[in-house]
């Protein structure tokens, strides 16, 4: 789960990483009154989960209340790369002497954590990596050992951070590592990490991605979830605990396993159709999961046929079949279903469905055959 900038900063703060004081606002009036409390100048920042906010005009300096009014009115409702701005973060402007970069993420190639630090922050770091790779100091951290202050200090010096910033930056880096590991993040990135004119080092931005698999040991994450930007179908799927991504085609897809679900999209595309969604019911899905999946697909007006592609492993095909039968009882399905069932308990599954087959509920033997059938059905069901 990606966090908004303000959430990211609050998350970093739990681990003792300083950033500029600020407040979250949803309206122009609120922005104005809260800015008055903070004291000027302030920065008005669009809260969207996408990079390039500055270039898009979503970050503006305001010298007084009038400025805040003007900028807040312009930024709220602004569309930044497809994300509509619904909230603002108003923070006290910092006097910036230097802009740095710091991040931790996993380097999958060597299976170690990777810390990157650069004295060239505040700009697109991917461009720095491409044009001046030497400007980014890198250190692999073995999770068994962790990161020591000594190593951190060495890295900060190697990155060429100003002398006056180094002790604070080294300390901050160790805290950032704690946040990354104990906070169960996939990514923590501070760009820019600034040195103020009065010699303080703090985060001016924060990009934090939490590892959804760790949610079970972070009950406090519950309060962050409400901020996801989802469409109605995605919200319903999320409520039901399904992995769902809405697309724009007419063939509703239900598959087990991300790989098979992706492959199902590919095959539907290859036989001339378009998928309405990506939906992975996951491993070990029960009959209830299948009912939920069909409910979500059924709620999508664009769906004209449903392709259920199951290869049972940990998921048992008989459970899936029970789910389909149960869904037929509970939900009035608007679209015909094509099922392709193989793997664990497939025979039992087909037997469970045998009495329910009709011209609107059909079973096909192969994945490609089922895709063709589903695409054909979508075409004739308009």
């Amino acid at each position: 789960m990606d966090l908004y900038e303000y959430q990211g900063k609050q998350y970093l703060a739990r681990f003792g990483i300083p950033s500029s004081p600020g407040v979250l606002c949803n309206t122009v009036d609120e922005a104005q009154s809260r800015a008055d409390d903070l004291g000027y100048p302030v920065v008005v920042k669009a809260q969207v989960k996408v990079g390039g906010r500055g270039k898009a005009g979503g970050i503006q300096l305001a010298a007084d209340s009038e400025d805040v009014h003007r900028h807040a009115a312009a930024i709220l409702g602004m569309d930044i790369k497809g994300y509509v701005v619904r909230r603002l973060w108003i923070e006290k402007a910092s006097d910036i002497a230097r802009e740095y970069y710091a991040s931790f993420t996993l380097d999958r190639a060597v299976k170690l954590h990777l810390c990157m630090v650069s004295a060239k922050g505040g700009v697109d770091i991917e461009e720095v990596a491409a044009t001046d790779p030497g400007a980014i100091a890198r250190l692999h951290v073995d999770p068994v050992d962790g990161l020591s202050v000594t190593e951190s200090a060495k890295l900060v010096a190697e990155a060429g951070l100003d002398e006056v910033a180094r002790v604070q930056a080294a300390d901050l880096l160790v805290k950032l590592y704690d946040c990354y590991v104990q906070g169960d993040c996939d990514l923590v990135e501070i760009n820019p990490l600034i040195l103020t004119t009065d010699g303080r080092v703090h985060a001016l931005d924060a990009k934090v991605t939490l590892d959804d698999n760790a949610a079970f040991r972070h009950p406090e994450w519950g309060e962050l979830g409400g901020s996801e930007e989802l469409d109605a179908r995605e919200l319903l799927a999320k409520e039901k605990g399904l992995t769902y991504i809405g697309l724009s085609g007419s063939v509703g897809i239900i598959a087990n396993g991300a790989g098979l679900a992706m492959s199902t999209l590919d095959v539907v595309n290859q036989v001339g159709g378009r998928a309405a969604n990506f939906l992975d019911i996951g491993g070990g899905a029960s009959a209830d999961t299948m009912v939920s999946a069909l409910e979500v697909i059924n709620s999508d007006d664009a769906v004209r046929s449903i392709f259920v592609n199951i290869f049972g492993g940990i998921t048992r095909v008989d459970e899936v079949a029970n789910g389909v039968v149960e869904a037929l009882r509970r939900v009035e399905l608007r679209s015909p279903i094509v099922l392709r069932l193989d793997g664990t308990n497939a025979e039992e599954g087909r037997q469970i469905l045998a009495g329910h087959l009709s011209d609107r509920i059909v079973v096909e033997d192969t994945m490609v055959g089922a895709a063709r059938r589903a695409v054909a059905m979508a075409g004739s069901n308009r």
Partner: protein, 295 residues
Amino acid sequence: MSIFIDERTKVLVQGLTGTQGRFHGLRNRDYGTKVVAGVTPGKGGSDVDGVPVYDTVEEAVAETEADASFVAVPPRFAPDAIIESAAAGVRFIVCVTEGIPAQEEALFFNRLRRDYPSTRLVGPNCPGVISPGKCNIGITPGAIALTGGPVGIVSRSGTLTYQALHELSQQNVGQTTCVGIGGDPVPGTGFIDCLAAFEEDTDTRAVMLIGEIGGSEEERAAQFIADHMTKPVVCYIAGVTAPPGRKMGHAGAIISGSQGTAQAKMEALTAVGATVAQNPTQAAQLMVEVVKNLA
């Protein structure tokens, strides 16, 4: 022959008394796998359908000489279960558990690499490993595999692994071993480990590699194929039409030096002489041709 596991492999199941462990552990036994023990703390002395259950892996190994473990416990217990097996001298561990935090995976991967270098972990979040007719550890439905080789399979995706086995078996092409390495960020065993093992294995004469979007494992596998593989490789990469995935921030893109698209992976594999299919069915058809030409 086969890689990693064969008819002599003795398997203990961590979590045999749980729903999933019992279902799949006993299915593995029914397949012919030597499932010799179960381990569940606090349930030692009982049995599951005749398979003795022990409190610790150490006891199970001492009593039964198990040399492989099937980890089928929930995410919060899996990291300790894996390390417990390695510490007890188990040389081969399959962990099917889905939903383990990435930080835990990174930690136990590096602990294994440092303290137990002779232990191989496959997974987590994988379907497991099957050497058809000899041994099946994990959740792969054994009936879809075909004995006799000559194809080795390595796959990142669970259900696509079954799809590949099924399609090949339908075409009467057998498999030596099929390894589902899992799609998690820190897989214990990667494509390259399996390609190297298949290259060594005399009975494996061609390899099917199934990848998916994200990361750069397939690109590194392509480099390995160019440098070390003499055997033909047929590939399929899932996700050509997938919506652009969640971008892992800038740091991720800098590291991998790749956007992780299916197209980029297919191009890398094609460039090193691998045969690249558009879907699982076509991958099997192309493999049938490859196998024909071997004779």
